[in-house]
Amino acid sequence: MDPFSAEGELINIHNAFHQGQYPAVIEFDTSALSPENQLPAGILQLRAQIALGQSDAVLADVAGGADDTPDLAAVKALAQHTTGDIESAYTLAQDLAENYPDNSTVQVLAGTVLQAQGHSEEALALLTKHQGNLEAVALIVQIHLHQNRSDLALKEVQAAKRWAQDSLLVNLAESWVGLRVGGEKYQAAFYVYEELASAPSTAAPLSIVGQAVAELHLGRLPEAEAALSAALEKYPDEAELIANTIVLNVLAGKPTEELEQRLQQTHPSHALLSDIQEKSDLFDTAALKYAPRVSS
């Protein structure tokens, strides 16, 4: 049985992880779980730590078991990747992908590392070996979207919906696709995130960002602003909150400098900043091609 199915005892920790409630995951009491679920729960907690930027601690944690357990090795690869040890992460991920392609943790984490380093094809090759692993599905969807293949992403989601309609991950993945496809799907995605964001047990920056992004796409700026500004007060350093607030402020005609500085300080490598920098340079070079015939 899928340990993460609605009847399984891991459902709550699993959902918490995918709703971005990482502290809740780490604090989750795993002692009551049955022995075969101890490892998956532990892996989730390690991943939550990585997501919170505590990769070094994770590396220390898994140092012992990484050689015996492919699951922990996969965690190690991810931790290495996030600490900047790109090379060894890549080698380890490749190694794992070759030797343990059927291990679901390996699929997901090695797939993440490969994708994060730009090896989308390798990642896809590994992930498509999954047997009913929803996380792998979600990852495949994300990779397809990253490659701007919303058609393939949609197919993947629809296939998954047939066997796991109720799952949080499928709902989320569907919303990711929906936000790319647009039209009525914006509203559908909005409802998914709104539901997560409004319930006290599931609210987290992740779901609030999702809700606000959907509102932005729907052109409902005041609502998006309400959601984002409330969330920013609560989580002032959350990168995506800041990034999307910048977008919102631009659209609403408000100043963004202060937020850009904040983002620069907290997450200097954020896609928004590098993108803007790149475009700014592009502008300067492109503008050089033009000059008035007579300079005054």
Partner: protein
Amino acid sequence: MQSSPNMLTKFESKSSRAKGIAFHPKRPWILVSLHSSTIQLWDYRMGTLIDRFEEHDGPVRGIDFHPTQPMFVSGGDDYKIKVWNYQTRRCMFTLNGHLDYVRTVFFHHELPWILSASDDQTIRIWNWQNRSLICTMTGHNHYVMCAQFHPTEDLIASASLDQSVRIWDISGLRKKHSAPTTISFEDQMARANPSQADMFGNTDAVVKFVLEGHDRGVNWVSFHPTLPLIVSAGDDRLIKLWRMSDTKAWEVDTCRGHFQNASACLFHPHQDLILSVGEDKTIRCWDLNKRTSVQSFKRDLDRFWVIAAHPEINLFAAGHDTGVMVFKLERERPASAVYQNQLFYITKEKHVKSYDFGKNAESPPMLSLRKLGSPWVPPRTLSYNPAERAILVTSPTDGGVYELIHLPRDATGAVEPTDVKRGQGSSAVFVARNRFAVFSQGNQQVDIKDLSNATTKSIKPPAGTTDIYFGGTGCLLFITPTSVVLFDIQQKKQLAELAVSGVKYVVWSNDGLYAALLSKHNVTIVTKTLEQVSSLHETIRIKSAAWDDAGVLLYSTLNHVKYSLLNGDNGIIRTLDQTVYLVKVKGRSVYCLDRSAKPRVLDIDPTEYRFKLALVKRNYDEMLQIIKTSSLVGQSIISYLQKKGYPEIALQFVQDPQTRFELALECGNLEVAIEMARELDRPNLWNRLGAEALAHGNHQTVEMAYQKQRNFDKLSFLYLSTGDQEKLSRMAKIAEHRGDFTSRFQNAIYRGDVEDRIQMFKEVDLYPLAYLTAKSHGLTDEAESILEACGLTEDQITLPTIDEPLRVPQPIVPTFKANWPVKAAAHSSFEKALLGEVGAGDDEPAAIEFEPEEEDEAVAGRDTFEDEEEDVAGWDMGDEINVEEDAEFVNVESAEAGAGSTEADLWARNSPLAADHVAAGSFETAMQLLNRQVGAVNFAPLKPRFLEIYKGSKTYLPASASLPPLVNYVRRTVEETDSRKVLPVIPRDLETIANVDLQEGYAAMRANKLEEGVQIFKGILHSILLNTVSSEAEVEQAKKIIATAREYILAMSIELERRSLSTDTPEGLKRSLELSAYFTIPKLEVAHRQLALMAAMKFAFANKNYSSALSFANRMLANGGSPKLLEQARKIKLQSERSPQDKVDIEFDQFAEFDICAASYTPIYGGSPSVSDPFTGAKYHEQYKGTVCRVSEVTEIGAPASGLRLFVPGQY
């Protein structure tokens, strides 16, 4: 009584056998006549016995209220008919005549008649006004069990144990009695002696039809309220339906089902139903059209004897062996659900309708739910899902069924729904976007189902659960008879439990933070985590509730709309004349559904609860606002404030000095208290004031209070303790003056004044004491003289040993000079708000350099701009980048692997507009487009705009952990999904530019912040240069804004140039005068042009250029405007006209038409060569061709250009 889902018992009484029942037509009253000879008057709403009438001897069988008068009639086994007044609570008179039991009595609906049926085989009609028998109908040959008037026609129906029903025509009787003036002498005689009336050959009442069909005696007969139908109930256990025409009557059908004698029957006043009761202990309900049994209710032990229907509202009453029950056949609460500004509800016809609170409009029917449940059972609940636009309807039929139906997009009429999912369950509610919960009370299980009606999860609710409600996202509320349980569906665990009994409804606040749990007599307010906030009790039944946006709960009882704050404070808002079900509160309107499921709007005055809410939230400004704008001040609000511990606020409302005094004391406001005490001047008040002031250490007030009370002793002591020697001695004088020796003695002691003491002793002949005092204080001379006066010598007296005399301690600190230092009583925030309110409003808005009067005119719309004569075609022609849509289009549908193109790429492909290319990040093509369209060459000033558009084009959605966020592209085509039509959102649309940026520019002009203004207008130009609009009309508007911006930039630049010059040199002065003249040329808003003219006029006048000044003055006068400006213009005109000469010759021909070169600020007269900027249209002398436009700073003057494109028809 078997618990039937459909019958709702509203009231039950316990008594002996009830034989007759009558509803009051207006009040919630019911009369019950009992076998025990008593008549009871009940209030069935409150459940109270109002009165008892006990004059009959033996059972009372017939009873009826008069439709309009405060009276009723009864008939009993004592052969008597009694007419009562229920106000005076007395029997007014008794009608005697029947010779056996009286079975039924009824009033005529309009004539002053009473109809009675009796075991003496007669039916009699009585006139209750002259208390006489006017007609006796004979014909039945056994007991007449029942006789009723037809509700409209001159007919009577009677039922008898002779197995027949008879219909009597009484039109003859009416004729005889309706025209009293034409009554013959005989008739009068006949009426005067009714007992001698001839019983045979009587034409007053004749039998019209005899209905035979019952095999046994007939117990009851009733007319249909509107149709020519009659229903009868007999001992043959049958209910028979008869129809009649003018000429005949016949049996239509028989309703079989009673298995004992049927006692009574009637038609439902509004629905096609027949109700009957029988000795088989059942109430049965029959379909009038099909004559089939619809429903039956059985009582365990009691046989039913009589049934009655309320004439107007949906209520029935049945009398049985041990009392009476009042019941409804069906719930009248319309099923409804509110979502944002819409109400969805189900009408009596079982149509689903919506009501828009914004427009106050009802929609046409959207769906017909005719097939839901059984025909006589209305749907119970409605739950709405906005995400799917679906409704979930439950009906109590067959133990409960639900249906899930998608609403049609448009309300087109009562269509039958097509795609319906249904199932069994007593309650069903949506719990999430794609999930609903179905509760089945029978097997105590909750199923969570998805929208395809498949069960995804099952939950076992706590034992005894009776109902479920939405519990906030992902949660359910289980209602048990004694508690409410909050349950998280996902985690499958109970989050909280609250012990509240008998909850029937749950109403969530608009923000989802609070819920009101309604039970029959209690409202409990809880948080979303089920913590109790407050609870209140009502003696009258609570029907419904709705939340105000501010978090006030409004609820309705049977007869009131009331409110409750979160803290439980509650009060009445208004009374209700009929029961309504609140659905929404919006401002001063309460929206509700009435019992016929019609939306209604009630006006309410929310002042009181808003005030209290403001008080609780300490929002003093709002309180003040409310106080000022409404007539709230009343005893109730004052006592409320006082009770709630806000005497200082209550003080602000009160005029009555006594109350003010009390409040002032309570909040320690001595000043007000003194003021009030002075006004009232009562000793009691001064006393209390003194005590309070003493507690405050405010001894000056204490002194005053004591003075007012003439309380000398206390005063003296006060002076002593405050060390006020001077006043103390004055007290001594006063005491002396009053001749009050005790007081004087005391004062002397206080002051340590020995002489005075001795003097006083002497005065009261207490020489021994005087002597002793003198002696002990060492006043030997005085002692001697006292002895002398007494004629004694020292030897003759014995003295006790004398110690050192007691010295009165002298106060060191002059306390009396000031009150005790008390911490200054700060004004409460409320008082501050009051004071602040008074203080505000003095500040005039800061004056601006130009004439301030112009402000309102300056706001004048942008519509007044003069039209530019520019080639319209230039805007739409010249498609530079031809998008070969189909040819170039990469088919993204292809299933090949590999990366697709980003949406940004699509944008660039889909649009020929520069702004869209910028959003797509394709800056090169954007620049290319701009270069061709408007000759843009200098892009640097556009960089912020480029980056702004680009930044607003993408959002970042975090997805899988540890991977970068998913980038999504924000579209302005929100509805579009076709990848060939999607387009990016462009920030700062035309509307914003026109409504915000342009107004800022005007404001800068008014405020004389010209540098700023130039930047604002240039920003406007740049924003428009990279923009998109949605219609040709907007293209025109954009062009107007470009022209406006150009004129303002030109004008402001000229003026700025002038200000930078010095006027010391003749050249400088000349140029300055010229520039100030040119400043008046650009086409500004009239108000602004007046400012330019004013400046130019004054400047010219000051430099003795009277001719120019005169021309400016004339132009100003022609423009009109504020009187102040015009006054100045007139003055200058007068003076200039004396010598209309220019002292300095300037290059300004006031009579010629010319443009100003935007680079050199010199005139370009018509006909002379010039070039213009392809974007702004600014004019330049020819030598500037090829340079960058001074106005836009982006485009090249005179460059070949096809014209700016902002709009592609069909794009939107």
